[in-house]
């Protein structure tokens, strides 16, 4: 009887960790979508994506600390700050540099990362600042399981955003043009599509997604540091690579897998192993399935498509 009870408690822990992992992983998935859309459109990584979100969050924190802004105001400022920073990065590192100069864009986006870090430190020089909590708090009990209200909001917002992104990509002119530019920006020109304009709009879109994801993560943790940019970059890139570069469902699955593995490792091995587990999983994934969980199929399909036409 005692053994059964112990087993049940262990099962509850495991399932609870999975629930927490899915909730956190949903936000990782949003970050990965941000990376994957830009990679899909430009075949280049935007290494300043994480720092842009961090700077947006710093604008929100600054408004909260100095103007005592309400949570919804902090959300709006965080998103607006991320979008403005995203546009700055796009103009400087991607628009101004030729499309085929992939390495130059990536290196310059890395340089801008340093710049954004410095701006954040100049604005708020301390190491850690409080970030306002969400408009909801507390939680819900489902039998033996507990779900934080913030986590629930994160999951719901992620689901809504993924549905929205899917509709945008598959039901609108902009989405069609974005997918066309992702496949071939040269061919898109013959359709009268201006690839620079689509890239610019894609940056605004991913900055919006990033701003929301950043707010959800920070409002759950209720603190922000200048290292948030680095943290976001790692989580987003790992989730994207786990799922497969260039795949939106892959980004979400990668985010969820990463979230679950992190919470399980944290519970069973301790906090110190949490981040390490993410790298181990990434390493194993890259060795066993280099294209990512969903990326391989997509890469093969695209390769076939390019060879046929």
């Amino acid at each position: 009887m005692a053994i059964e009870r112990e087993l049940f408690a262990k099962m509850v822990d495991f399932v609870q960790n999975c629930i927490d992992g899915i909730m956190i992983g949903a936000a990782y998935g949003l970050l990965a979508i941000g990376f994957t859309i830009i990679f899909g459109v430009m075949r280049r990584l935007n290494l300043s994506f994480g720092p842009s979100i961090m700077l947006g969050a710093f604008f929100g924190t600054w408004a909260f600390l100095t103007l005592n802004a309400a949570p919804w105001m902090v959300l709006a400022i965080t998103i607006a700050g991320t979008v403005i920073t995203g546009i700055y990065v796009e103009r400087l590192c991607f628009w101004a540099i030729r499309r085929d100069a992939t390495i130059a864009s990536m290196v310059s986006s890395f340089a801008i990362w340093m710049q954004l870090d410095e701006v954040a430190i100049l604005m708020l020089p301390g190491r850690t600042y409080p970030f306002p909590e969400m408009f909801v708090s507390g939680g819900l009990n489902f039998g033996p399981f507990f779900v934080r209200a913030e986590h629930l909001v994160t999951l719901l917002v992620t689901i809504l955003m993924v549905v929205g992104i899917r509709l945008l990509l598959y039901r609108t002119t902009f989405g069609l043009a974005l997918r066309a530019v992702s496949e071939s920006s040269d061919a898109a020109k013959y359709m009268g599509i201006n690839p620079s304009r689509i890239t610019f709009l894609a940056f605004i879109l991913v900055s919006l997604i990033g701003g929301v994801a950043g707010y959800l993560l920070l409002a759950t943790d209720q603190q922000v540091t200048p290292y948030f940019g680095l943290w976001v970059t790692f989580k987003g890139l790992i989730a994207m690579m786990l799922g497969g570069m260039g795949s939106i469902p892959g980004a979400i699955i990668g985010g969820l897998v990463l979230g679950i593995i992190e919470t399980q490792t944290q519970w069973y091995l301790g906090n110190a192993f949490k981040d390490m587990s993410a790298y181990v999983v990434l390493f194993l994934a890259l060795v066993l399935r280099p294209g990512g969980l969903l990326g391989q199929g997509i890469a093969e399909r695209q390769d076939l498509a390019f060879r046929r036409v």
Binding site: A180, Y190, A305, V309
Partner: protein
């Protein structure tokens, strides 16, 4: 309708065209032929706004169109069906067609416009929801043409529409272009399939080394098919190209004189 004057296109150090001038009138089919690297596609790309000319002018419907971006050219009615088709293989056939109408102000997911175009391309109608990568080469070329028509062109630029196609598929493409002529579309076609193209066209230009070396009615140029061949890399064999039985002595004399004149122009052009 289209007036190209002294068009120069350069890719870095390499001159693709050296002062090409050509005209296309409303309702005409004009062919541009020449060897690989002669500057045919560069001319078309400059007219369509895909590449920027270094000098010269392009006027369309009386308006200055030199160095205008491709989206503006398409809005004005200059639509190019590019070499190599450039179909989006990961998108469906329907989505490829919708992209053709991207620049129209009334663009929506408009089934009426698509239905109209599909009447001319029944083969695509059954495959609308399949990825375009599933199409054969001939079908992909049909899709490229149908996609071009979705943009409701005033002037259709066709760049090597039969490249890489089997003779039967190429015949289908030429039949289709004849159909487009019947509906009054103005077409500027670049093709290496000289005989079939000249049989189709009203007028023709022969380009070599980035210059126009011969122009005139298509039947005249076709009559001087040996001359065309001379500029397709067989100039030294000019005597053998026109065996005595194929042209009258008078025609042979005219052709020889024009060959010499054009060779002179061509060589001067090269020296420049």
């Amino acid at each position: 309708m289209l007036e190209v004057h002294d068009l120069h296109v350069r890719y870095g150090e390499i001159a693709a065209t050296n002062g090409i001038s050509l005209n296309v009138s409303n309702g005409e089919i004009v062919a541009v032929t020449g060897a690989n690297g002669a500057g045919k596609s560069s001319t078309l790309n400059a007219v369509a706004g895909i590449v920027l000319p270094t000098s010269g002018s392009i006027r369309f419907d009386g308006q200055e169109m030199t160095a205008r971006p491709s989206h503006e050219c398409i809005r004005r009615g200059i639509v190019q069906v590019p070499e190599g088709r450039k179909i989006f293989g990961t998108l469906t056939v329907l989505e490829n067609l919708q992209l053709g109408a991207y620049r129209l102000s009334s663009f929506q997911i408009d089934s009426a416009g698509i239905d109209e175009v599909l009447e001319q391309f029944p083969i695509l109608a059954d495959r609308l929801h399949e990825p375009a990568s599933c199409l054969s080469g001939g079908q992909a070329q049909m899709l490229a043409l149908a996609r071009g028509l979705m943009a409701q062109p005033k002037l259709l630029l066709l760049d090597e529409p039969t490249l890489g196609l089997s003779p039967i598929a190429a015949d289908d493409v030429f039949d289709l272009i004849r159909g487009l002529r019947e509906i009054g579309l103005t077409i500027l076609i670049v093709e290496q399939n000289v005989h079939q193209t000249l049989a189709l066209a009203d007028r023709a230009y022969v380009i070599e080394g980035g210059c126009v070396v011969l122009e005139g009615d298509a039947c005249d140029v076709a009559g001087a098919s040996g001359l065309t061949s001379a500029y397709l890399g067989m100039a030294d064999q000019s005597e053998r190209i026109w065996p005595s039985g194929r042209s009258s002595p008078e025609e042979q004399e005219i052709i020889k004189t024009r060959t010499a004149e054009n060779r002179d122009i061509f060589q001067n052009g090269n020296r420049r």
